[in-house]
Symmetry: D2
Subunit: 327 residues, 4 copies
């Protein structure tokens, strides 16, 4: 059995520790919130008093998995690990970091004889039970050393049919973890994964919106069609081309409330959707769907509607139209 340090015990970090311990691995954990530590220690982990304590509690060669909000918290933790770890140890960023930052950090750690792995971790709140899809960037040696850890976190083959013609390829890929390439490759693949996720989500959302609008009172009576959107989402789960986990989740939400009334209709976005569009711009790749998905979220939060006002001002200017002010 292996041991690993885990820094950051939010929902993701805590569940990663739990899944590892279920598989028999030993976890030394730390979080700035003592209650978070206590909750994971109750599940069998050893708690550390601080980062230095966590490092001290691990036997060399050490592995420390940082699972913190992206930006300053992660940056600082990796920098501190750079001072605390010893040559041959490996610092892991399992959170959401831009791959260019990974390349920069890896070079800084390499100068101290340390390894660095960037791991895109997909699975969300379901990962504890379903397993995490792991997209790993960095040197081959620490990846090989940590294979038991990755195997424990990944979903495994489960009931998913094998893809034909994969003979001769690394079997761990089919278990749900992949050494994608050099530094940054893990987070690059995770970034693109999230971009695709945005696009697929928006495709589903637009389709459901079309079904809703098909019964609009503005349509001629003979062309209004009412469908039960919850049932539609459910039937598509069987044998259709759009079967997907996102559809499963959508069907579950619609089964609870077809009007989705508890949601506001404004939608947030995380860094990776934005980075994906910036990647498209930087590499001159046309990515209209991934971008439209991001912009739909921006538009959902546009309270000031200045662009719309500018359009109305132009229409007023040339046509005398004055859009009605809302009551």
């Amino acid at each position: 059995m292996a041991e690993i340090g885990i820094v950051g015990l939010g929902r993701m970090g805590a569940n990663i520790a739990r899944r590892l311990m279920r598989a028999g691995h030993r976890c030394i954990v730390w979080d700035r919130d003592d209650a978070a530590i206590a909750a994971v220690v109750a599940g069998g982990a050893s708690g550390a008093a601080d980062l230095a304590g966590l490092v001290a509690a691990l036997a060399a060669p050490r592995a420390v998995w940082v699972m913190l909000p992206h930006g300053a918290p992660t940056e600082q933790a990796i920098a501190e690990l750079g001072d605390l770890l010893s040559p041959g140890d490996v610092a892991i960023d399992g959170g959401n970091t831009h791959w260019k930052d990974d390349i920069r950090r890896a070079a800084a750690l390499r100068a101290k004889g340390l390894h660095y792995l960037d791991i895109g971790t997909s699975g969300g709140v379901w990962g504890l039970e379903r397993g995490y899809c792991l997209m790993i960037g960095g040197e081959a040696e620490p990846v090989a050393r940590l294979a038991p850890i990755f195997a424990a976190l990944a979903p495994g083959r489960g009931g998913i049919p094998a893809t034909p013609r994969r003979e001769g390829r690394a079997p761990n890929v089919e278990e749900g973890w992949l050494h994608c390439g050099g530094h940054g490759a893990g987070h690059l693949v995770k970034m693109v994964h999230n971009g695709i996720e945005y696009g697929m989500m928006q495709a589903l959302a637009e389709g459901l919106d079309l079904l809703r609008a098909a019964d609009s009172k503005d349509l001629p009576e003979e062309h209004r069609i009412a469908v039960d959107i919850a049932d539609v989402a459910e039937v598509w789960r069987r044998g259709s081309v759009v079967t997907s986990w996102l559809l499963d989740l959508t069907a579950a939400a619609l089964a609870e409330d077809p009007a989705l009334a508890k949601y506001s209709g404004t939608v947030g976005d995380s860094g990776e959707g934005r980075w994906t569009v910036q990647q498209a711009v930087e590499t001159a790749v046309s990515a209209p769907v991934l971008t439209a998905a991001l912009f739909a979220r921006f538009a959902s939060r546009d309270e000031g509607r200045f662009a719309g006002k500018a359009l109305s001002a132009m229409r007023h200017g040339f046509g005398g139209h004055l859009e009605p002010k809302k009551g």
Copy 2:
């Protein structure tokens, strides 16, 4: 001097009559609203009691310009003219009609020996003074016969520099009226014109929105840039690549109120923007800008935000995110 009947005395129809009368042409006018007739008669037109009376007051070969809201009102007026006019007469639809309807109507009128012209008329509330850009579809003979009418309505050369290398091309084009082609060609060209108009408007609106957001409180202090958007629009009117009439109108609106506070931010759309997208779909032409411009207007009016709710439901499903309800 020529004479013409004008049916429909809204802002467009009344101003068309006025511009023709300024040029010395004779107008017989009718509208279902007596006050509208009286206003144009006060400017020198002859009023008719009904459509039959208007037709009777014209000498053959007659020309009757219908300037009514698109759809049923225009359809009915053209049908009635089909019964009232005599062979060799010409019925004109100067409004906003889908070009496929023009082709259908022209065939019906042709069977009765009547001509039909579809005329896309651009110029809006400014047309009376600035002149109307006329895009004409139909047979050559009635177009030639009505050239004096078109010349009076069109803006003329004005101060606009001539385009090089147009030697040998019809001079009327440079005066602002064009026989575009057969039936439907006038409204097709006007439809595409309006599609482009949507795209250009949205391009300007997005640009202004970017300038507004460049001073957002969400940005790091050192990267916030405040600009006076009214002055920016004004300076672009001189020597920049985006000089355009739409920019002139935008600059005027921003000079009045840089916040454009009298506009709601929700934006309507007319048939032609939609038809343009449908034309793109039918002819397999990629038209992402024209379509994005239309969808931005749809989104500005989306009160129910069902698509956004669906996105939030999916995010909640896989990540436990719950978007904040608006207060």
Copy 3:
């Protein structure tokens, strides 16, 4: 056991017959191609000499499933069935028809005492083994009567986990067939399904293209990242948010050839992707992702590149740029 007539024995029609016969149902089949009939008869069906013969071979109340290319072939077959069938019989269009055509046809058949069902059928070449997702529009009575047929064609529950909170809802939905609503509802739901399919496919394609481009020779050496796209698609099948049948198919294609060299890069489209965009325009729903996906296919086939030439002409005009002609 039930019996049904099947008209049109292409890949879809023939496999539908086979799947029904496997479940013990009796099929009377016809196709204009005798060899197609013979192939299905070899599997146990009864062949008819023509449409009238097929109708005559069925006991009342009859059900005839038409599975022909959309447009004229289907239109004609339904019209002929309108003459051949008897009151209480049901004509089924299982192909790809616009829902407005369904509404029109249903009214015409109803006047003769006949039923009509529009059935969106998803499943493609995999349907024989995997089952077909059936989206059904029309009257309740013939739907209830044909439930055994639909149950045989649908995939059934399989290994797919049940959606929580569906207690009290019709169980057949979870087996993969849904009575969506009145006439046209089946094909409307199938149309939107295909629109979503286009969007999801394009999201995946753009993501893979970004991974390809991440190793572009145009990038600075330190920012080039090479990943094995076939392995990435495979790992995403386990535990990631984008797990989907389309991803399964993509992983299989990439496992065979990561360069996808046997495909040209030009992509066709069927009616339903276009109809979905037209539906969005008609119902004023912003659908940027579904539309971008369609336009990407149009653009992939744009040999003349006239829009690009127009852009270059403008750039040449204001900036003196002359885009290089391709050799």
Copy 4:
């Protein structure tokens, strides 16, 4: 009369010098290409042997306008000027630089007592005759000092009608030059200008493409409409809503050759179109039109068509479609 140093005598720099000299200003010029210097000296400028010589030839407080390709050449010239200039002097970047770089540079120069202005310069090859639209960022003092220079470069009021309600606003804006705000504001405004330019260009290009396709041989004969696109562009120049300089240029190109045969259809892009999209992403502004315009250019250059191949592979997977390889 004022004097100014000009570094970089490509088309833009040389014409700026010429336009200034026409207005009576004195120009000291330098370029790494002696022939470029000689050509401008022949028009009345004084040539310098190197950057130090150029600085030495100017009287304090000096102004040096750098007009070089963006990136390293400009960066290096500004850095050298930082060493050569004296407190109170001003270094000007009139090229295309990202506004964040301006903020960085200005801080570095300020530490040496130097001023820095970022000037977005629009006008292209037409600027010499038509004047340049100047968008200026930086401190107020050097802007005021250089007002005669800006007035000479700007187009002036010309025949363009005044915008109503601008009373009390700075008159120079109506002459075509604007002090937009602090450091970076000039290039920010120019960046957004170029983004709008991309959007407007694409709107026009898509519209023309729709007109081209309206006569496609794939359409039913009765729905084919042939129009003369060169005449359409010309007539839109008079009285239509889309009148614009870009339309003027388009009409000129189409008058020369309606097929635009000398252009390849692949379209390049410059940094500012990309930066505009990145700005939208960073400031959470939905900018679908500006982005679609950029992506259309990317797509026009996509030789490998990997995204299209991925779509075809999926279609093949679920439907058995095999897209035809191009011959």
